[in-house]
């Protein structure tokens, strides 16, 4: 789960992280006028109000004058954005303007949870503003790392060692250590899985953390209602929101099969079997291990929201899942009408007989089987012109 930049800044401010001064504008004129209000020597214009905007648009435009800020805002405002994973388009309505001081130094830093070692990885580089993959490629050996014990937390000596290795001037150590402690506290408090500060800047005499992304364990959202509320503020057609609501995993792809599975690995193996037949999923929705009828309905809505889905394949091998619960969700969706593409249902495992019988008795128009190979054949048969052309 990810937040928009505005939300991220709002959250981190509470943790006393040193952040840039920024404002929000809904027109080029308002953006230009903001410059005087927020001050600074230069400015950055961002489409930072919704998480998907960062993906869809140029993430930041640097400007050296208020007029340039107005032009940048004009270029961004009104641009169409495809809501991630759907065909829904909407116009960008507001931009974020950040003031930038005199930049005297730039660093990259990130925190991430390493599941294998059960430690937090802190890493830093002088390649500010770059993607982590590029940093690894270009600066692999020079990247500075610290391993943090989550129960002791980040220790000040580690911060000092970290910043000295990054070449931070000695007199900045106290401020940098404090800033990093604030970031770490936010990371731990919010049960984040990753936090990236693309630009940890020295501007004038002060440190500023810019271009921040935080990712959350969506399994932890239930005990952080505020965070959950923030994520729900965003458009409900955004797949991640629907996915979080029902604890569904979602991967968006470019094919035409709407694939719903129980478990990511089963999804992966099913995708490989489809590929053998020349087919690719449009999206893979993972029901997880304990899907309710409502979750199944949400998953079906999610795959059916893609206009280019030509066939739906639901593949559940139940253990803790129960085929009878899954079938309930299928029947309720089919009886609700408006399901255009053919639906193939493969069920096996816990309560499979009950599930398949109930499905067949209901008379809803789906093809069902207990065998995955049969199900794949049914999917292939639903492409009367062959599967080769759809890739």
């Amino acid at each position: 789960m990810e937040l928009s930049e505005v939300q991220t800044v709002e959250l981190l401010r509470e943790y006393q992280v040193p952040l840039p001064i920024s404002g929000i504008a809904d027109s080029p004129d308002a953006a230009r006028d903001l410059c005087a209000e927020i001050g600074g020597r230069s400015w950055v214009v961002k489409a930072g109000l919704r998480p998907d905007e960062r993906v869809a648009l140029e993430p930041r435009i640097e400007c050296t004058s208020p007029d340039a800020v107005g032009r940048a805002a004009a270029a961004l405002l009104g641009q169409a954005i495809e809501v991630a994973g759907t065909e829904v388009e909407r116009a960008l309505e507001r931009v974020m303007v950040e003031s930038v001081g005199e930049v005297k130094g730039e660093w990259y830093l990130a925190l991430a949870l390493d599941r294998v070692s059960s430690r937090i990885v802190l890493l830093g580089s002088t390649l500010a503003g770059q993607a982590v993959a590029d940093i690894v490629r270009k600066a692999g050996p020079s990247v500075v790392r610290e391993s943090v014990d989550p129960f002791l937390g980040l220790q000040p000596f580690q911060s000092r060692r970290f910043f000295l290795a990054l070449g931070l001037p000695l007199e900045l150590l106290p401020a940098a250590t404090t800033a990093l402690a604030c970031l770490y506290r936010a990371f731990a408090d919010l049960e984040a899985t990753a936090l990236e500060v693309s630009r940890f800047n020295l501007e004038g005499a002060t440190l500023v953390a810019r271009d921040i992304t935080i990712l959350f364990d969506h399994g932890a959202l239930y005990r952080n209602p505020r965070l959950r509320g923030m994520i729900e503020q965003t458009d409900s057609t955004w797949p991640d929101v629907a996915a979080a609501e029902w604890d569904l995993g979602h991967v968006s792809m470019s094919g035409t099969v709407g694939l719903i599975v129980s478990g990511t690995a089963l999804g992966a193996a099913t995708t490989e079997l489809l590929a053998e037949q020349g087919l690719t999923p449009r999206g893979v929705v993972d029901l997880g291990t304990e899907a309710t009828a409502e979750a199944v309905m949400a998953a079906l809505r999610l795959v059916l929201s893609h206009q280019d889905v030509r066939c739906v394949l639901l593949n559940v091998f139940a253990g803790f899942n129960r085929c009878d619960h899954v079938v309930e969700g299928i029947i309720r969706t089919m009886e609700g009408g408006d399901v255009v593409p053919p639906v193939v249902v493969r069920l096996n495992g816990t309560k499979v007989q009950e599930g398949l019988s109930r499905l067949r008795e209901s008379g809803v128009a789906v093809s069902s089987t207990a065998s995955l190979d049969e199900a794949i054949a049914m999917v292939v048969a639903s492409y009367p012109d062959g599967t080769g052309s759809q890739r």
């Binding site: 364990d217 005990r223 690995a265 193996a269 997880g288 253990g319 190979d373």
Partner: protein, 306 residues
């Protein structure tokens, strides 16, 4: 024979009585599992399914001699339950979280707690979010559907519950039975790893080949590959690649992949190891069947026997 679990293993069900616990305890009993008691902080003193329910795991272990446990608990109480059961001396723990998933931070707490035991005495923890363990024809502790299994020579260890069942169903349909099935649980933060299971299977007379199901490129899989190279029994591995999403991947994974403490371990290639890869699900039974012909049981390294 089998690993870790047989028909004489005394099992307690933590969370009994409860909707899910009742349902799967019945499945376990039907399968022949020696379920001796329930533990419930709120329902101690009752009898459920003809078994006593204790308030604490300590008392349950004292009274019944249980050595294995399955825990049904909500995500919020899961850490407490696992710690209680481990602290009472239970050495085989299957943890099934209900409702929400257990948070990664909580799982780290569990992992740290279990480190108090030296590796040789550390409890085996399957989960949270595991499918459990099933020794075919003997006993099961878990939430799997027993009808898909058949007795035979293949030990199965999987991180993926559903794909594990799929593989087992295919083996059974092809007339290839299984010895013990172990579902480790989804994300490998707190639970037991492949390597420990491979070691058990290597020593199990009933197992002639092992099927390992996981994810390509994972550090645990790489570690398993290195271990398998020194084993006598063939290890077949099915590691389907996760579908690549359009758009950007998860930042956390990219950072950890690049910089995690175990990053170096990922470089090792499965292909050059002692494991035999399954190219795709359709080839699974053939690959396993081929591997069974390789194992001679003579104590000579595999591949050198022909």
């Amino acid at each position: 024979m089998s690993i870790l679990l047989d028909e004489d293993t005394p099992v307690l069900v933590y969370g009994l009585p409860g909707i899910q616990a009742d349902f799967y305890a019945n499945v376990m009993l039907d399968y022949g599992t020696k379920v001796v008691a329930g533990v419930s902080p709120r329902h101690g003193g009752q009898r459920v399914l003809g078994r006593p329910v204790f308030t604490t795991t300590d008392e349950c272990v004292r009274e019944t001699g249980a050595t294995a446990a399955i825990i049904f608990a909500d995500a919020d109480s899961m850490t407490d339950a696992i710690l209680e059961v481990a602290d009472a001396g239970i050495k085989l723990i299957v943890a099934i979280s209900q409702g929400h998933r257990v948070t990664v931070w909580d799982k780290i707490g569990v992992a740290r707690f279990l480190e108090r035991w030296p590796e040789s005495e550390r409890p085996v923890l399957l989960g949270p979010e595991a499918s459990g363990i099933l020794s075919v024809g003997q006993a099961m502790i878990g939430v799997m559907s027993p009808h898909i299994f058949a007795r035979g020579p293949v030990g199965v260890v999987t991180r993926a519950a559903s794909l594990g069942y799929e593989a087992v169903a295919r083996l059974t349909a092809a007339g290839i039975g299984q010895s013990t099935f172990v579902g480790l649980g989804a994300d490998g933060v707190s639970g037991t790893e492949y390597v420990e299971m491979l070691a058990h299977f290597e020593n199990d007379p009933a197992t002639e080949a092992i099927l390992l199901i996981g994810e390509p490129g994972g550090p645990a899989e790489a570690e398993a590959a290195a271990f398998a190279a020194g084993m006598l029994k063939p290890v077949v591995t099915f590691l389907p690649a996760r579908p690549k999403p359009t758009g950007r991947g998860a930042l956390a994974e990219r950072i950890v992949e690049a910089f995690g403490d175990q990053a170096a371990g990922r470089i090792r290639q499965i292909a050059s190891s002692g494991m035999i890869p399954v190219p795709h699900l359709g080839e699974l039974t053939r690959t396993v069947a081929d591997s069974l012909t390789r194992f001679t049981g003579s104590g000579r390294p595999k591949g050198l026997s022909q």
